[in-house]
Symmetry: D2
Subunit: 345 residues, 4 copies
């Protein structure tokens, strides 16, 4: 039984890791750390899990944790993981980091959008954990940089088409919408119920930090520089992310061709569900699951592709994909512990 630990277990992504790992049949969750809840029982902080998780939140200590776990998930704000991951790797741990710290290959790009990188030497060995795309690389990785929620929702539908060179790269527009849990569990005015209810709005218009993350990956896959226009929006719901992507074609294409390209690319991958004709992806249909639902339409009058995806921002957009990556790193079936039945509503 592989022993696993979650560093930063009391944020939303951390707590979701605890949920999944506690029910995972092939690992044992042995340690949780928290900066704010040291000494408290996890299920006192998240009473939904009363009777299901008995661990107590500890202060982070590399030595202690090294003795307790073989795999470590770091679910911390960016900048903190780069301070502790080198030590964990040195102790032979496998690490899945959910922050932005190990998502970039280029430390300068990271520095432009976050801050200088103090463990930049690890970026080359870190693998970008988009599970369906980088399966082979993840299999052999010691360090996985788990993708952001927006990039997951954008890259999964786009990469196969970009690789097949079907799209005009100068035309890609991404209009993405996220539930509020994506903003985390730290109290802030902008995520208060009364500020969010009946509110729908764009934010960080064309300047969101997930933009360079997506462009680096897309450009690498396309073999040429790709820039996108990316506008995130906040939805008055707790979980979920829906993304609508617009792009012109290299040459006229039919809906069936695009659908087929995606279907083939993801053949055999359990978490990609291609939506059938006429039914666009809906955040409610993937809530609480590790699925990414994808829909395709073609605006034939304008020769423009409309790609749609839906994920749960905390599962496929964070904790679920992180566990999927762990499964791959450990040689397990990638779906292990992630096939909890979806709720019909």
């Amino acid at each position: 039984m592989t022993r696993v630990a979650v560093v930063g277990a009391t944020g939303y992504a951390g707590a979701e890791l605890v949920r999944i790992l506690s029910g995972h049949p092939s690992v044992e969750l042995t340690a949780l750390t928290s900066r704010q809840h040291i000494g408290e029982r996890f299920d006192a902080i998240f009473p939904a899990l009363a009777g299901r998780v008995e661990l107590i939140c500890e202060k982070y200590n590399a030595g202690t944790l090294g003795d307790q776990a073989d795999v470590v998930f770091t679910a911390l704000p960016h900048q903190l993981p780069m301070e502790i991951v080198p030590e964990l790797l040195k102790r032979g741990k496998k690490v899945v980091d959910l922050s932005a710290d190990f998502r970039f290959k280029d430390p300068d790009r990271y520095a432009r959008h976050y801050q200088p990188h103090t463990a930049g030497d690890l970026l080359q060995q870190a693998v970008y954990g988009l599970s369906e795309v980088y399966l082979d690389e993840i299999r052999g990785a010691s360090l996985v940089g788990n993708p952001g929620c927006y990039p997951t929702s954008v890259l999964l539908p786009l990469i196969p088409l970009v690789k097949a060179d079907l799209l005009d790269p100068a035309t890609i527009v991404v209009d993405a919408k996220s539930g509020v849990s994506g903003a985390g569990r730290s109290p802030s005015l902008t995520t208060l119920f009364s500020e969010v209810s009946e509110s729908f709005k764009p934010y960080k218009v064309a300047v969101h930090r997930h933009n360079p993350e997506m462009e680096e990956v897309l450009s690498a896959e396309a073999g040429t520089g790709i820039r996108i226009t990316f506008v995130p929006h906040l939805v008055p719901m707790s979980r979920g992310m829906q993304t609508t992507i617009y792009a012109g074609f290299r040459k006229a294409a039919r809906r069936e061709d695009i659908h087929h390209c995606l279907q083939s690319f993801y053949d055999g991958r359990a978490f990609i569900r291609m939506r059938k004709d006429g039914l666009p992806p809906d955040s409610l249909h993937v809530r609480g699951t590790n699925y990414c639902d994808i829909g395709v339409e073609v605006d034939t009058r304008n020769n423009r592709l409309i790609l749609m995806s839906a994920i749960d921002n905390l599962v496929k957009g964070a904790a679920g994909q992180a566990v999927q990556n762990m499964n791959i790193m450990l040689g397990l079936d990638e779906t292990t512990g992630l096939m909890q039945m979806p709720y019909p509503l």
Copy 2:
């Protein structure tokens, strides 16, 4: 592998049964019926379950269903089950009915609040499926009348105290609150999003049909007639039910005594979670689960008990308890298939 069928699979309770039974390790879900979706794939109606349920909705036919299943769940509006259950029993099926048709012992009381009973002779053999209270009776039952959601949330905290004769039976007031899914999946003005959002209101004040159901059970347990004042309210949320119960004491009691009475009564029962001091039950903490969280406070200034419970109206209040009852009828551990990890949010 026991074969099970769901009659009325496309309502909310029916769909929830499909979710649970599809993931149940000891049964095989073999047939679904629907009046409105005959010939349609279940996962086209509930796309959340795409790839997880492959069954097609059939028209109900006792003969066909009899060949397909050993246990039948009937999740239909009241009055319909009493027409089909006798035939199913005759064919040797075990039946769990989620309507009100088999919840009453007294056919006259049923008739007063619903309509004349056409299978009243079955009422004596039917067992009221409050799993934690009637375990022994359910074990040997062929027909279980699954409790209503409100009665489940009310009876679980009240019965142990009533049996112990701790409460003044003339003083019981029940103020209950339900999420909107309790009103079902049939389109109606009162459950439209725009009618419910920002709306909180009582309804069927002191005249709800769950009132006689509760009183029949409470009176039987107390060995004397008990009448309660019951006011349900509609909450702008999808799932969940929270109930606050007020009652005077026979003689002054301490919070600890009440807590202990409940704790002892439910000792060893996995789905009852007694909340610790100061943290009242919250619908969010039981969402999607079969738990009933119970909290106790005593207003010492007024010598009055405040009992609080929270359940998911579709799980412990309907489909989950129905499966729990099936487990008991089949001699399985009552938690089988019902321990999906709760979500932290």
Copy 3:
């Protein structure tokens, strides 16, 4: 005092008309009709207005209504208004129709997207009621076709830029999001609370009927054919509409230039609020008001414009703009009766 009537007063747009007209200082609301609530008091159907509206819903009758009102608002599903508006006009009434029946100049385009037009001869005299753009035409009109909610949110930000020929017309993508009240008050599965909560999804992807409406108007303003890609989405909120529009430039433009073009075009018009730098329009900020908030950003890396607007779909997107049009038709200040203070939350 001008006497006004609302035909179809018990739908959401109709009820909103009743709210505004009841508080309007220059008109008297004299009659309401309803198909479903004949003989009922309006405030029994909408108890929020108890004590404020004393009218009883009547069956529609052209003669009676003609005696009661000088201005008639028709808030009915399309196809019904074309049957009654000719008679109302014949009787000398001024009419503001909130359906699609009088929005198109071209009866064939209407027929392609709705059904054959039985009063097509009125289309040339009908004025498209986008108040800020067609002020002069509305002033002299007897019949106004009130714009759809999506077209209002799209055309107000786009028209000034299209008229100034700043945009590449082949590049316009509109990603729009609407609250649930836009789907009306008729019970339907898709607008039930439990289907909408935690759900965000596109619908009628690139095939929505508001698309031809927008293209007809945009093309007329541009003096050349314009086609757009239009994808509406459903937001789990009751009221509100937020639209994000993407377009390439004819030649590189700065944010300031675009902002200035819009600011100049709408100079002096009370209901257009240009958002200041960095704060995108938010549906919550216009809730219950007749405002259209507009924001502008330029993705300079991609030389692409991002236009954002927010309206209340039932006010500026329906009833509010209809009253604004009436004000203009009657020679009143366009803001009369529409300046109720907005709520801070």
Copy 4:
């Protein structure tokens, strides 16, 4: 034109005061203060009011404010008003305080539930601002302690019945439910959208600070000590409060008698709306208004009264009633500036 100021204008109650006073025809809003937003335009903090409020938030200064305003609303956390109100009164200002600081007659009771009172000498002259009950006292007051939201929703239906000695005072149970804005605008974990959505829960069970406030007033009105059991609950909605009150009768009473007692007591008072038979008060029906809707049912089987009320916690529960009190203090009609039309949804 009376000049008015709001101290603490950027909390939810303060902002709601700004909304109402900005639209009030008989006063001029001349100054706003804020501790956190000094120097910022109010409409930059609440963009809904862009173009409607041009004031800039100032640091509080008694001298400056004294020159700017004749009436001062203090919308601050308790303990702060008692530090500044004495000085304002000394300068001849009329003050309406929205905190708990001037709601109690008995400084010791205040001290037991809040902290020692440093301006206890003002408590006797302060008038409890329950507008419909203390009209005469408010008329001559210089200082009004504006009631809490829960007390308003409880006292308005209860006081007439208690005064008429119709109820058994030992039997009163109050089950109240509030929208989230009642918790204020300060960021906190418990009011984050993701913590509140799909959550319904009791809190501060039988220990809420509004309990002694209600008991002091009820006892004074009854002429005898009255104790109630009070349990507040949090509802996943932004605004609104619904309260259900249970009480036994002195002697058997009919629904009509109770209804008549209330109707008579509030005869001629515009903001009390007695609901007709069978339609319980709904928070949505009073949203954004100063109404208190009241409904009455009698559980005849148990000889128990069920009283129901609905208010908007920020309007009749705070800012609206505060302005109503100002109107009374200034000799204006109590409804002035408070009759904005309610929204049908």
